[in-house]
Structure formats: structure tokens, C-alpha cells
């Protein structure tokens, strides 16, 4: 392709000087520069970001502009920084007079203040920083003249509350700048229309531009001489094969599902790295400086491999990645496709990827995922209406920026796609909560935050509260993290963060892994964990919550269908034989039936429920079923859950499982028994923090996680008892349907199986159930089993004494 019609000569020359041509979708973005809302779907490496900025650069090159012209929002701070660097090159080389700055949590306060007074032409930021920017009284001045907003990686934002927060802020910007044009940039997704609706101002339409998706990826399962272990997630067995792959490629990204697994893998990789290949580690809990160092080395092409997590999921241009390795089953096809796209950033070249199952079951899951990728069968779980806790935070931040009329704000909020169906009652509930804390809490001064003025406008009761509100803005729940640094005498170098609960489990002298280093715990100083370097052999591994994905519904269904095949030529022998043995001894679970196995083992009775509802729902099922088994006098003692099954053990065998799966009883359990559960409390805590009921940050001090937990648990109990219909309790129950509790998937499972429950009673453990015994994360339940066990001990004691009771 040669000269593009609407591209000015400077741009054409620049493209030509680079030996590049303008992609058709970039051209089209330029042609549609005046469309109010436009979403571009392009694979990674498709010049997506430049496509988003081209209209801005062209406009700024042709017409001088006062103040901010384009706002760019990305989910990652690193991405904002990276884009700044990448944009700088064409702008400087074309000699354009364009000021580009970023603004994230890492930007200095001095710069932030200056940016508000004297905004750059292009501001690159994150949803949180944008929400804060709109909360200042001078927001109207900061955004004066704003013409375009570019939301990058909108598919990732659309899945979380961060996206909801962003769209609410966008509505506010649209009121300040009515002609604002919205552009969304997205990776390949299952339902583009759903995301487009979130982007556009409701009920306006949103045009969707599809770039050429490029060739199909070259993706395989990594074959190793040693079969994967029966359980676990470390995939240590694959280290030699992975090292061979690293050697055979220029740069390899090694993705993990959790940070803990990334740390273990990196540690093992390092121990086996006899050729001293330069390998780095990158995840969200590492200190910023550490991460930046790795990023810089990566860009400079100094690293042969990076062990990473979701922190590298999104579009930073990592130069010459020619292989992506996914360790552990991908859990979700869409995310896998996006990760695969990280390899080979050249457009129109296939990405190369390898899947490494971490255990035997994951071999099946990986095969199902491979097939899904080949068929481009992406998974999507609809998100439902916009969450009200985010709306509450928005209302409070709106109040921080100045007084408002409720009617105006309501109309503004309804122009946000996710909140389009919100009723006035729901909005008023939120406003009332922001103003008073809600019925049960209205007596407490700390939650009396808004007041209505005589002219009808709402404002902060105490203007000084604005600073506190800003400190607590944001929807990311980074659960109780403590900073880790080297002890001061050794330089005080920051290393990263660990969870408070993990820190609490450490005592002086314990060693753990962070950033691939083994360190020794020295002590806790204020809110910082102090460590020293250690050559310890057996480090503990820090846990990081929030990254435990459940296998998607669609992938689970694929596995169940795969089970129905007569033979499995695509599976390695060790796994195919395992499945055949299971079929021989018991059954393989099917798509529209529920297989339950009952067998004794180690003097206990076991019940294995193959619900295939994903880890979180299977966990919830464990809680609900043990409760019912207790009521039936079966004395359950504990359970463990994986993505595909829940294994329950107890003193007595289950002979009739059907009543246990009665929908009404299970639902009742959700409202009653589960309401007391720690997961509900944790869900509530997230909601309460976002809605501003709990403040994690106060000027001059940060509340420790435990303090915050303590007060949020008491709040939860109080509301459960006195005001169960409190707004935040309703939001908590809604969230329980997804996420940690995921009751919606139990519901879906019941729909799927109806009354088709197969109980298979055996005299020993089955092949499919066996790996569950090796799972970590067993939950102990106490109840009548303990009473019976104690009675036995008492009888034994009396017996020994020659007495009888």
C-alpha cells in the first residue's frame, strides 16, 4: 500500500522512512476520527495503539491546540510509561510540537499538581488516576478542550470494577466536554458488541472496526520424557524441557497463573540454569524498581526468558519474544489467546506457544484449551449490571469535586452502559448511603458525609473529607500487603510485597522467596517486613491471593465432552490410560449428568462430587454439602475442592445424594449458613472498602489489614443482624453469585444436570479421585464428627480405668 489519502505528507514521509506502510485499520481509524464512539479489535502486534493515536497526532500536527487534547487510559501503569516512550519517537522524528506526559500512582506530587494547572496535549493515565483527576475542584479547567479519549486494552478493563469506575469518570468528562470522542482498543474477544456498549455513551451506537486477525497461532503441548505429577501446580518436572526451549529461542515469556507459582518456578529454573542464561522474573508483587529493571533489560534484548504472571498479559511491546510458554492449564481460553499473542510482535506472523500441564488432570485441560484456540471458541461470562459499590465511590468523589444536583448526576450515570438500567431507587439508595451510611449506621458520625444545601445541591458535609476520599479511591483490592525491604543497615532496598497473613506466619529466621531471592525474615517494623539475604535451602513460598482463577464454564464443558470420546489419540498415553482405567473402574463424568463417587479410604468415608463448576463454586459446594451432611447425621470432617471436583470425607457414607442437591436447600444455605462464612465477609470487605464504608488509608497512617478485617467483620455481623437489606449487604450477595463464592455456577450446574445424578459406590479410591488426596488447601469442618470422636476417646479412657459410662 502506498500513499494514504488522508494522511498528511509529514506522516507519509515518516512511515516511508521507516519502511512501513499504514495498516488498513489504522487508515480506517483516521477516516472515522469524528465518530463519537469507535472500537478497534486487533490482534497484538497489529499497531493497535498507533491506530488509536493517529487521529490525535494528525489533528495536533495540523491545528494548534490549547490544553489537553487526548486522554489515554490503560489498565497498567507500565503501559502508560511504555506508550509515552513509543509515541515520543514518531513525534520527535516528525518534529511535531506535542507535549506527552504520563500520570500514574508513580508520578511525583509536584508533577501531578503541575499537570492539573498546565495539562499536556496527550496525557497517559490509568482509571484510578483519572478518577482522582476528576475529583478535584479544578477538573473543568484541567480537561478544557479535551477532544478524544483512548481506552487501551478495554477488554481487560471491561471485566472488572476498574472498567466501571473508568466509564463513570468518562461520563463526567463527557459532561465537561460534550464533543468528546471515545475510542476503545481491544484484543480479540468473544462478544465485541458487549464491550462496545460499555464504551459508547448510552444509548448511542458504537462502531466496531475489525482488523485482520492474522494467521492462526502455532500452539502445542510441551512433551516431556517424564509424565506430569498427579497433583500440584509447580510443573517442576518440566524444567529441563523448558530450558531446552529457552535455548532454542531468542526470547521466551513463561507465564504462570499465580505469583507463588512463578516464584517457585523461577527458583527451580535458576537452580537448573547451568549455562547461566539471563533469566528474569516479573510479577505484580515485586517492587516497582525491580520490575522496571526487568522491563528495561527486556526491551534492550538482554534477557533470554522472563518468568511472569498476568502482569505481562497486556500490551507492552517486549521486542523480540518468539515463544510463549504457559505453565499450568490456562483456565480460560480468552486469556490464553491474549498471552499467546505476546509472542511474535510482527503482524501477520503466527505466534508460537507451548502449554505445560502442571499435573495429570491439566493434560486433559490443556488439550481442551488447544482445541478451543484452534476453533477460536472464546469464553465469556456476562458481567451483569454495574456494581453499586463503585457508584457509591463515584458519588463521593463527585462530591469532592464540588456540589451537584442529584437529578443531574442520575442522568449522567445512566449514560454509562453498565448503569443504563439502574433505577432511581437504586441511585437514591447509593446517594443515601453516601450521605448517612445507611439505616443501621446513621447514628455514627464518621459516615455522615454528604448534606443537601438549601438550593437542593449535595455537597460534602466537611470539605476536609475530600483528601481522605481521594486517598481511598480505587477499586483494586490488593489484600493486606506489607512491603518487604532489606534491613536498613544493609541499604534498605525494597523488594516487593507479601500478604499480611503470610507475614504473620513467619518468625525470625524463617526464609522465603521473593523476586527469585531467598531472604530471611528479620522482623516487622511498622508496616514493613525487614529481611536479610540468606542462602537457606528450604524457603517458604509467599502466597498472593486474588489470582486464583477458576476454569471457565466453556473450558469445563469441553473437558466433559472430551471425556465422552471412545479413545483419546490426542492425549499422551499416560493420561489416556488413566482415563480408560477410570472408565473401567467407575465412570467418566459427562456434560449433562453429575457423577458422584462414594468409597472408604483410611477408615473414613469419602464422597467425590465431579461438578466441574470451577474452583470457587466447588469450594462453596463443599461448604454447603458438609452443612447438609451434618444435618443428616453423617458427621463430615473436611473437604478439598479443585476446578473439577469436591472431595468430602467423614465418619459415615452418603447413600442417597439426591436430597443434598435440592436447589431450594442449597439456596437457603447461601442465605443462611454461608452468610456467616469468611468468604462472604471477605467479599463484603471488598465492597465496603470500594463504597467508602471502610477507609484503608488515613492521612499519616495506614490501617493494617488485620485492623481493617476486624472492623469490616464487625460491620458485617452488625448489618447481617440489624440491617440485612443494607445497600452493601445487597451488593455483597450479588457479588457472591460470582467471584469467590460463585454460586451462579452451582446454579448453572443444577440446571445442567437436572435430576441426573449417578452415585457410584466402590470399595476403594478411583483413579480420577486419587489426585484430590494430594491437593493442598484442605478445609477442616468440625461438628458432630468431633463429638463422636471425643466420645470414643472418653469410652476408651473409662474402659482402661475399668469403668463404663
Amino acid at each position: 500500500m502506498t500513499n494514504a489519502p488522508c494522511l498528511p505528507a509529514t506522516f507519509n514521509d515518516w512511515f516511508a522512512s521507516r519502511g512501513w506502510s499504514v495498516h488498513p485499520h489504522q487508515q480506517e481509524m483516521l477516516a472515522k476520527a469524528d465518530v463519537p464512539a469507535l472500537m478497534l479489535i486487533a490482534p497484538t502486534g497489529g499497531g493497535k495503539t498507533l491506530a488509536g493515536f493517529l487521529p490525535t497526532l494528525v489533528d495536533l500536527a495540523q491545528t494548534p491546540h490549547e490544553g489537553m487534547h487526548t486522554l489515554y487510559v490503560s489498565p497498567l501503569k507500565a503501559l502508560a510509561t511504555d506508550i509515552k516512550r513509543n509515541l515520543r519517537t514518531p513525534v520527535d522524528e516528525m518534529g511535531l510540537d506535542i507535549r506527552i506526559e504520563d500520570r500514574t500512582g508513580d508520578t511525583s506530587n509536584f508533577h501531578k499538581k503541575r499537570q492539573r494547572a498546565d495539562p499536556p496535549h496527550i496525557l497517559l493515565t490509568t482509571p484510578e488516576s483519572l478518577a482522582l483527576l476528576t475529583s478535584y475542584e479544578d477538573a473543568a479547567r484541567t480537561f478544557k478542550g479535551l477532544k478524544r479519549i483512548v481506552v487501551d486494552e478495554i477488554h481487560a478493563l471491561a471485566e472488572s470494577k476498574r472498567g466501571d469506575q473508568l466509564m463513570l469518570a468518562l461520563a463526567r468528562l463527557q459532561s465537561l466536554c460534550p464533543d468528546l470522542k471515545r475510542v476503545g482498543l481491544s484484543a480479540t474477544v468473544d462478544d465485541p458488541q458487549a464491550i462496545a456498549q460499555l464504551l459508547a455513551r448510552h444509548p448511542d451506537p458504537c462502531e466496531i472496526l475489525q482488523a485482520d486477525p492474522g494467521p492462526k497461532p502455532d500452539i502445542k503441548m510441551l512433551t516431556t520424557s517424564e509424565p506430569p505429577p498427579w497433583a500440584g501446580g509447580g510443573a517442576a518436572y518440566s524444567i529441563p524441557a523448558v530450558i531446552e526451549q529457552i535455548k532454542a529461542h531468542k526470547t521466551t515469556l513463561i507465564f504462570h497463573n499465580t505469583r507463588a507459582q512463578a516464584e517457585i518456578f523461577f527458583h527451580n529454573l535458576w537452580l537448573a540454569n547451568e549455562d547461566s542464561l539471563p533469566i528474569g522474573i516479573h510479577h505484580g508483587s515485586l517492587d516497582r524498581e525491580q520490575r522496571q529493571k526487568v522491563e528495561a533489560a527486556m526491551v534492550a534484548g538482554q534477557l533470554r526468558a522472563i518468568v511472569c504472571t498476568g502482569s505481562l498479559d497486556l500490551g507492552i511491546d517486549w521486542g523480540d519474544v518468539d515463544l510463549v510458554i504457559q505453565i499450568g492449564a490456562p483456565k480460560n481460553v480468552k486469556r490464553l489467546v491474549q498471552r499467546i499473542g505476546r509472542a511474535n510482535h510482527r503482524y501477520n506472523a503466527p505466534s508460537k506457544a507451548l502449554l505445560v500441564p502442571a499435573n495429570r488432570f491439566e493434560v486433559v485441560e490443556c488439550l481442551a484449551a488447544l482445541e478451543a484456540v484452534q476453533e477460536n471458541d472464546l469464553d465469556g461470562e456476562p458481567r451483569g449490571a454495574g456494581p453499586l459499590d463503585v457508584l457509591c465511590q463515584h458519588i463521593l468523589l463527585r462530591a469532592a469535586s464540588g456540589p451537584f444536583m442529584a437529578d443531574d448526576l442520575f442522568e449522567e450515570m445512566r449514560s454509562v452502559g453498565a448503569y443504563a438500567d439502574m433505577t432511581r431507587t437504586e441511585f437514591d439508595d447509593c446517594l443515601n448511603f453516601c450521605a448517612t451510611g445507611g439505616y443501621a449506621l446513621r447514628a455514627y458520625d464518621q459516615w455522615q458525609r454528604l448534606m443537601q444545601r438549601p438550593d437542593g445541591q449535595w455537597q460534602l458535609r466537611d470539605p476536609r473529607a475530600a483528601a481522605k476520599l481521594r486517598m481511598n479511591a480505587g477499586t483494586i483490592q490488593d489484600s493486606d500487603l506489607l512491603k518487604v525491604r532489606m534491613k536498613r543497615s544493609r541499604g534498605g532496598k525494597p523488594l516487593g510485597e507479601i500478604e499480611e497473613a503470610f507475614a504473620a506466619s513467619l518468625s525470625a529466621g524463617d526464609t522465603f522467596l521473593i523476586g527469585g531471592k531467598i531472604v530471611r525474615y528479620e522482623g516487622l517494623r511498622e508496616m514493613t517486613v525487614e529481611v536479610s539475604r540468606d542462602k537457606g535451602r528450604k524457603p517458604k513460598v509467599a502466597t498472593f491471593s486474588g489470582t486464583k482463577f477458576a476454569t471457565s464454564t466453556q473450558l469445563s464443558q469441553r473437558i466433559l465432552r472430551l471425556f465422552q470420546q471412545d479413545t483419546w489419540p490426542a492425549l499422551p498415553d499416560h493420561t489416556a490410560d488413566w482415563l480408560a482405567l477410570q472408565r473401567d473402574m467407575s465412570q467418566l463424568p459427562g456434560p449433562d449428568r453429575l457423577l458422584i463417587e462414594s468409597f472408604p479410604h483410611n477408615g473414613r468415608h469419602h464422597l467425590c462430587v465431579y461438578g466441574f463448576a470451577g474452583r470457587n463454586a466447588q469450594q462453596t459446594l463443599g461448604l454447603l454439602l458438609t452443612k447438609q451432611m451434618e444435618e443428616a447425621g453423617l458427621a463430615p470432617m473436611g473437604f478439598v475442592a479443585t476446578d473439577y471436583a469436591t472431595l468430602i470425607w467423614g465418619l459415615d457414607a452418603v447413600t442417597d445424594p439426591t436430597p443434598l442437591f435440592d436447589r431450594a436447600t442449597l439456596t437457603e444455605g447461601l442465605d443462611g449458613w454461608l452468610a456467616q462464612n469468611a468468604l462472604m465477609k471477605r467479599t463484603f470487605r471488598g465492597v465496603a472498602t470500594i463504597a467508602g464504608l471502610i477507609e484503608r488509608n488515613q492521612p499519616g497512617q495506614r490501617k493494617s489489614g488485620r485492623q481493617a478485617t476486624f472492623s469490616s467483620d464487625i460491620l458485617y455481623d452488625t448489618l447481617l443482624k440489624y440491617d440485612p437489606d443494607h445497600l452493601l449487604m445487597r451488593v455483597t450477595r450479588q457479588e457472591a453469585m460470582r467471584g469467590l463464592v460463585d454460586f451462579a455456577r452451582i446454579d448453572a450446574m443444577l440446571d445442567r444436570i437436572q435430576d441426573r445424578i449417578d452415585l457410584v459406590t466402590l470399595d476403594r479410591v478411583t483413579p480420577l479421585a486419587a489426585p484430590l488426596f494430594l491437593e493442598v488447601g484442605k478445609v477442616t469442618v468440625t461438628g458432630s464428627a468431633d463429638e463422636r470422636l471425643l466420645a470414643e476417646e472418653e469410652a476408651a479412657l473409662m474402659d482402661a480405668a475399668g469403668l463404663s459410662t
Partner: protein, 244 residues
Amino acid sequence: MRQVYQPKPVIRLPQHGNRPTNTPMKTVDFSLAGAQLSALGSGALWWRDKDLLCVSDLHLGKSERVARRSGTTLPPYDTQDTLIRLEQDLRATNAQTVVCLGDSFDDLDALEALPEENTAWINRLQAGRRWVWIEGNHDPGPIELPGSHLAELPVPPLTFRHIAKDGKSGEISGHYHPKVRVQTRHRGISRPAFLFDVDRVIMPAYGTFTGGLRSTDKAFETLMRPEAKAIVTGQTPRIVPMNR
């Protein structure tokens, strides 16, 4: 190198069904210095011949105190829970004398900060009974509430005091919040427990959310005789060996 840190979750299943009030109380009966005593599953001690119910270490207002220190004030639920159980025991025994064996309140501020509904509740429980507050080390006795306030209470052949005194016998005390761990064929079960021998009883803490001291602790070494036994609390109290 697979020492993955895993918090060990324990879920306590709710007791099912409403226990009918007319079934006999489950107790473990034993004698001390000739007095016939009954240990209740709740952690209370019942002396039928004297119509006397003894409870120790209620620690009322504990969560309130913690909350006070972390800056939030809300209704304390542990207090309610403790009072509910006390009310049930009083109804079951219809005790004429109640002895609170010290540390009834987490500290004196906890008493002052107790919501009025809770103090009224305590008053209601006190009505028509003799009520003795023994001084503890946390609270020198809740002066504000009705009842007698004593350093110790002799009711021959027994003496009630907060902290056990070495060398005494016929003594009922609390303070240590004893717990025992019973190794059953499937797992170890740890619970608050009464410790008793021919000289004394050390009572478990009655309050909700109070921590405990393992029976293996040095503190019990000299206090309890080698043949001492434990009675675990729970739905049904049971005699088990006292781990040393």
C-alpha cells in the same frame, strides 16, 4: 522445597435442630472434697446441693476493647453470645447463687463502654439470685453492677477464687483458660476444658473469643496432680486424659 504456606481453614458447622429444653442437661459429674459437682458443656460448673452455678473469665466487652483500640466502636457480639449462653445455663439449672470467678470484664473501661442493653440484660439475669463477683486480674470487680464483690468466696468445703493457690485443696479457680488437645483416631481436637484432680478444679474460660492455655503448659505442672483429668467442653462434656 515445597513448603507452600497455606493458612489452615477450619469451618465450624452449626449445631442443627433446636435442643428441646426439657431434655436433661448433659453433664460430667465428679466430686471434690466431698462436694458433688457437675461440669456443663458450656464451661459452667453446677453445684446442685447448693443451687450454685459458677462461671469463669467471661471477658465481657473483649471485642469492644479491641475495637476501641483500633478506632471503631460497634455493638460487641461476643458479649451477646456469652450472655445468651449464660442465660441458657441459668434457665436449665435455675441456680440461686451465681459465682463469676473473675475477669468478668475485659477491663473496667469495657464495663463502662458496655451498651445499656447489655447491662440491663445482666441485671435481668441477676434478678432473684445471689450474685458474687470474684475479683480477677483484669478487673478488680465490676463495682458498678449489683452483687457482692469479693476477693474470694468460701462455701465449705470449697473455696472460689480467681487464681489457683499452690498447696490449697477444695479450690475452684479460673484465670488460665485451660485447653486440652485430644488425639482421636482421625485428628487432634483442641477445646477449652476443665482440669480437675482431688485438690482443685481449674475452670475453662466461659467468654466467647477468649484464647486458651494448653494443658501441657508449665503453669499446670505443679498445680495439677499427675493423675489429673480434663473435661472438654462442647455439645456434650466428656472426661478425657489431661495431656502433660
